[in-house]
Symmetry: C2
Subunit: 336 residues, 2 copies
């Protein structure tokens, strides 16, 4: 099923069930008002939502209305956890190659992950408000899952069973704040403002064969100012699958229902050309990666970060060509 959260002026919005083709929606009133409630009591509430979803898909509901992604908050407008991995090692390799730094061997076996702020997410069509353009505004197109409860020391296989819903994300990054922040040694903080999520979150059965053991084998599109800059394959090059990412958290703590875990920037390896150079035909899911490629090829980056007024659209289509999660479609804006 597909679930979304409609804006209603409250902090957590109103849970709606969205039809498979995303043409119509129906309030989940009577079952649950908020998505967190459903995650807290998944076994009891999700079958009731599934029934409503089927009735909606069959056009049999009385109070369906046209679904409008612009009226959506993030599926979880605020969450108790947002832990973002860096599961596509190619992204790390590129960024490090651009500064002539090796990737430590351990990075191939031990996931990189940071804890993000989760008190104030952006809806899929909300403006990305940044106080200053010179912070170096970048998008990051990612996949994210929402979990149920997963106990401390769960294995990657056990953790896979804890995945309830899948979304896509724009993990906005402020690149020019990162070097000084990481130099302090405590990780990202001010460089990671509010993250945006797709209009709908979907259960695994919606993904069919495209979901395989914690990896999503579909193409993630990034469209910057109307230009398609990324068509990245999310499946085969995901070094750590979502079960591994969740198990990484579980090494020393319980993961509780409603935790959101991100994949990090989806990234594909370059392809060697006949002349010995490298092409990146899939493009990029964040500007930092494009700039890394430029630095590797030409010694310096030429693509600039985002400006106020820029737009970013992130979307993933199923094998049938239909949008799976709806589009993240945002504009960069200064403080009002």
């Amino acid at each position: 099923m597909k679930l979304a959260t409609y804006k209603d002026g409250s902090r957590d919005g109103q849970l709606v069930v969205v039809s498979r083709d995303m043409s119509t929606a129906h309030y989940a009133t009577g079952i649950a008002g908020k998505l967190q409630q459903v995650l807290d009591d998944w076994g009891f509430l999700s079958p009731q939502l599934q029934d409503l979803y089927e009735t909606l898909n069959n056009g049999k509901t009385r109070h369906a209305f046209p679904f409008d992604p612009a009226l959506c908050m993030a599926p979880l407008p605020r969450a108790y956890q947002w832990a973002d991995g860096s599961a596509y090692i190619n992204h790390v390799e590129l960024v490090r190659a651009a500064r002539s730094s090796e990737v430590p061997e351990s990075f191939y076996t031990d996931p990189l992950m940071y804890q993000g702020g989760s008190d104030d997410f952006l809806g899929p069509c909300d403006d990305v408000i940044v106080p200053k353009e010179e912070y170096g505004i970048d998008f990051e197109a990612e996949i994210a899952v929402i979990t149920g409860d997963v106990p401390m020391t769960a294995t990657p296989e056990q953790a896979l069973d804890g995945i309830r819903l899948v979304m896509i994300a724009n993990d906005v990054s402020l690149r020019n704040l990162i070097p000084a922040e990481l130099a302090k040694g405590f990780g990202f903080f001010q460089s990671k403002p509010a993250t945006a999520f797709s209009p709908v979150a979907v259960t695994l059965d919606e993904l069919g064969d495209a979901w395989d053991q914690g990896r999503l084998h579909l193409t993630l599109q990034s469209i910057w100012n109307g230009r398609k800059v990324g068509m990245c394959e999310a499946g085969p090059e995901m070094t750590f699958h979502f079960g591994q990412l969740i198990a990484h958290i579980c090494k020393t703590r319980n993961v509780r229902a409603g935790s959101i875990v991100g994949s990090g920037t989806v990234s594909n390896k370059g392809v060697p050309r006949a002349d010995g150079k490298t092409d990146w035909p899939k493009g990029y899911s964040c500007i930092a990666e494009k700039r890394a490629i430029e630095t590797i090829l030409d010694g310096k980056p030429t693509t600039e970060f985002m400006k106020f007024g820029d737009t970013i659209k992130i979307e993933m289509k199923g094998k049938d060509g239909q949008s799976v999660f709806g589009a993240i479609d945002q504009k960069i804006a200064p403080l009002p």
Copy 2:
């Protein structure tokens, strides 16, 4: 007023109002079931809780019951944000001096802060469950505040107005996991398991003169295995006050109601002796600091980290000698 959350088998527990002397409590049923609700709607709900608090203090409530800290969850059993500063620079100086590393000049003007997990806090008397003793189990005695909404780019002075409640915390740390984790460059993650909070959270008026412009001028006691190891003054040596810590978060994002912000390990400078050596008469609020002092004095640490079965009690007394927040009183334990 003083607020606590009683265990009732649910994820968020039941909000109770606790008398000033912490002898009695009263369910807040009819006003709010959960503390997060109150933080979401502070202006409307907190005066009602204040009325109940006054009636309780006057012994006029009909359904008061004896208050038992052992039945408490953390005041917010799960939260949308847990951002922990390192506001006592002396702690950073000691730890760095022990490894002959300088403290960068910027650390005196730009707070160190990490984003912690907030989906699964520990109650004040809950066991600290750690899978392996060899992770290097340490306590960290801290002060923490719970905020209302504070907008992006708020100044430290504006941020002070956003503080709703104060608590104390045990920010459990797994010291032997830290070096490898920080070397990865993304900050703490597995080295910071679930944090515990005091039985009650209190409003600023409860603190009287001891609360001064974002600093709490009281003594934080740490009692390890029944031995008083820390009697640290929390006020004068707090390099960054809570308004500055919150404003640090607000540089690039909104801070939303129910965010918890920590002070980092409370720490006091050593005192020079007549013979040129240094004493630390206030003791320590985490074992890592004791080990740093040993390393500075003797070239190597001799105090070991905590073992399964160890206990840690953290408490803060008011100028009247009464416990302000109740005691954090925990045992270290392996997985069941």
